[in-house]
């Protein structure tokens, strides 16, 4: 009993990971757009679960709050409003199979390279070990750790990022407005 | 500074005060008849007092000798807007006036307007105070003096009286 539970607890991360992949597969494979969104949502929830098993509670909850609670809702909103059933008859590949395969191969190459570097490259050891002030985290909870990172160590990139987002937001509003007129 | 008004809760508080007062009154009063504005009657246990003129089901009246008062003048049959009354004139031993051998009343079509009672010159029919008229069978709505006694009522209550 005890051993079973321990092994379950130790393997929660791969379980969540596989489930997330499953959700993503459902999202891609589904012909019904709302089911795709549901698959996406499931994947997002599983990713949040992955974070939680890594004891990154803050990140896990933020994932839940931002992606599951905010972004996917908007996806769903759009998908529900747009009538997609009328495109059902069309060939989903639309004679772009070769281009698509090429793109996928390229993408895989890039991701594979990155993975290889991360796992077996020179910096792998360092990247995979957590920083000591987090692991012996009696001092800092991980909400504090994240905020320290955002608002102290990387304040400038963070602010620049938010300005970029603001610009995008304003741009979107402007575009939406002009279309109406 | 119009938006500052949004912080003034007096409009909502006024309504809340009123509804809260009503809640309190009902909650803390033992005798519900003493609660102001409380008019609930719990129907099967407590029945409301009907007005004397209430228009319920059509009933035939018998006189002191137990004799049907109706003399088949057909006034009620003629005036009924929905034609729910059918009278068949007949004779009865030892009675000078005509006697209704049948007085059929289709209650399912009756609209309780009391025109029949108003037209009757002999005070032989009345709308009584019966209001629980629902039944499970359609046949139960076909009332008549033949075969069923449910059309009769022995005493006639004078429903209309002079003004105060």
């Amino acid at each position: 009993m005890e051993n079973l539970l321990i092994s379950l607890a130790q393997n929660l991360f791969p379980i969540f990971g596989l489930l997330a992949v499953g959700g993503a597969a459902l999202m891609v494979a589904s012909r019904q757009a709302v089911h795709s969104v549901l698959g996406f949502l499931f994947a997002m929830l599983c990713v949040a679960g992955c974070f939680l098993t890594l004891e990154a509670e803050f990140l896990g909850i933020a994932q839940l709050l931002v992606y599951a609670g905010g972004i996917v809702v908007l996806f769903l909103f759009v998908v529900m409003l747009v009538e997609l059933t009328k495109y059902k008859e069309k060939d989903i590949f639309q004679k772009q199979t070769k281009v698509a395969l090429l793109a996928v191969a390229g993408g895989l190459l890039v991701v594979g390279g990155a993975l290889r570097n991360a796992l077996f490259g020179p910096a792998a050891k360092e990247a995979l070990t957590l920083r000591p002030e987090i692991t012996n985290g009696a001092v800092l909870g991980n909400a504090q750790a994240v905020s320290r990172g955002l608002f102290a160590d990387f304040l400038l990139p963070f602010e620049i990022l938010s300005i970029i987002l603001l610009v995008a937001l304003v741009g979107a509003v402007v575009l939406a407005k002009t279309e109406r007129v | 500074m119009n938006w500052l008004k949004a912080f003034n809760p007096s409009d909502i508080a006024g309504g809340m005060k009123l509804t809260g007062k009503r809640f309190r009154q009902v909650l803390f009063t033992a005798n519900r008849r003493k609660v102001p504005m409380h008019f609930v009657a719990e129907y099967p246990e407590v029945k409301v007092k009907l007005a004397p003129r209430y228009r319920g089901r059509l009933t035939m009246i018998k006189d002191e000798q137990g004799e049907i008062k109706c003399v088949c003048c057909l006034a009620c049959e003629k005036i009924c807007p929905t034609q729910v009354i059918t009278i068949i004139k007949g004779k009865k031993e030892g009675r000078k006036m005509p006697f209704p051998t049948r007085y059929d009343f289709e209650m399912e079509r009756c609209i309780f307007c009391e025109f029949c009672v108003e037209s009757c010159g002999f005070d032989s029919i009345i709308l009584n105070h019966q209001f629980e008229l629902a039944t499970y069978n359609r046949e139960d709505f076909s009332l008549g003096m033949e075969g069923s006694e449910n059309m009769f009522e022995n005493s006639a209550v004078g429903k209309f009286s002079v003004a105060e």
Binding site: V82 | G14, F39, R53, R55, I79, F115, K159, E164
Partner: protein, 366 residues
């Protein structure tokens, strides 16, 4: 990028807020109404045709069933138009009692309007408070004529019977507490910010449009036109009554709400005058045994709670029934203004507009 796809929805005939069997065909762009079409006729019974087959005496029971929340007003119009056709003079006491009951009926009709309108907008307590007072009025009707809803209250030439004993006391008891009740409704609604947001500026219709559509009653008066048949062409005992015709200028739902609430107060005033000044005397005029008409036509209009209720009667020589009978039903005419009031507004405003027009489908469809 995306074509605006309009959605067509049916509001009714089975819908919680269409006050009966009104069906409104709406085309929505998002929640904005682009097209609104009231579809009526689900309650059509052919009242006008039926009445042509019935005697003048019998016809009254069908008027009960047109505007069933204001049956006594309908009864009054029917009785008075026949009296006009035959030239019958109604005794003064009967006219006073008729006025009193009609005004009580106006209050009860407005209470029903207020309750359902508030319920449509979400204030559920006002509904029950208003119905509480309406029950008291219906008790008065029951005491007077034996029925609460389909009253068949009046007779051609006067009343069937005088007031029952104790009626005036009962009526006075109602009168004494009614104004406080109106204040109670106003506490819940008039200043409430949500109520104001839902009604101010909602479903407006200008005085010109009202007149063009033939809209009458509180809707017209809320647009600033002080037209009230009780003042303009007095009938019953209104020429002897003192009352004001409340008007407003905003012509929106809130203005109509204020006008109707004020009308309840004015009706209260009229009822009080009727109780105080009730003359003695007979309640029934001398009538011929059977009413046989000459050739002639009459149009008689009264101010029903919803607006101008007109009865048009044509008599046929030697016949006991009307040759032609037509009702100018205020709900029917007012309902025409619904598309004008709602197009370009939001779905929730349609609900408010149906409520503020105060239509009764029994009267619309007849």
């Amino acid at each position: 990028m995306f074509k605006n796809e309009e959605m067509e929805i049916n509001l009714g005939p089975q819908h919680p807020s269409t006050h009966g069997v009104l069906r409104v065909k709406l085309r929505l762009d998002g929640e904005t109404v682009t097209h609104c079409e009231p579809i009526i006729g689900y309650l059509h019974r052919g009242v006008e045709k039926i009445c042509e087959d019935k005697t003048f005496f019998q016809g009254q029971v069908w008027t009960d069933r047109m505007d069933y929340v204001a049956a006594i007003s309908n009864n009054l119009g029917w009785a008075e138009s026949i009296e006009k056709l035959f030239g019958i003079e109604v005794p003064r006491r009967a006219r006073y009692i008729r006025t009193m009951l009609t005004e009580l009926n106006r209050i009860s009709s407005h209470l029903l309007w207020l309750g359902t309108h508030a319920l449509d907008i979400g204030a559920m307590t006002v509904f029950l408070y208003a119905f509480r007072e309406r029950e008291q009025i219906l008790d008065l009707f029951e005491a007077f004529c034996g029925a609460r809803l389909t009253t068949t209250a009046f007779r051609i030439g006067g009343l069937r019977e005088d007031l029952p004993p104790g009626f005036l006391k009962q009526a006075q008891a109602f009168q004494d507490r009614f104004l406080a009740c109106v204040d109670e409704y106003e506490t819940l609604l008039t200043e409430n910010r949500i109520w104001k947001k839902r009604t101010v500026g909602v479903a407006p219709i200008s005085a010109e449009d009202c007149i063009a559509y033939g809209v009458t009653g509180p809707v017209l008066r809320a647009a600033g036109v002080a037209f009230d048949i009780r003042k303009a062409f007095p009938y019953a005992a209104y020429d002897e009554m003192e009352f004001d015709v409340p008007t407003a200028t905003a012509a929106d739902t809130y203005a109509r709400y204020q006008v109707r609430v004020e009308e309840m107060r004015q009706s209260h005033r009229i009822v009080q005058q009727c109780i105080d000044k009730l003359p003695e005397g007979p309640v029934m005029a001398k009538l011929p045994k059977v009413l046989k008409s000459e050739v002639g036509e009459v149009y008689h209009a009264i101010e029903a709670p919803k607006g101008e209720l007109g009865y048009y009667l044509v008599g046929e020589k030697g016949s006991g029934n009307p040759y032609r009978f037509h009702v100018r039903a205020p709900s029917f005419v007012n309902l025409q203004a619904l598309p004008k009031m709602t197009e370009g507004k939001l779905l929730a405003d349609v609900i408010a507009a149906i409520g503020t027009l105060d239509v009764v489908l029994g009267e619309v469809d007849r």
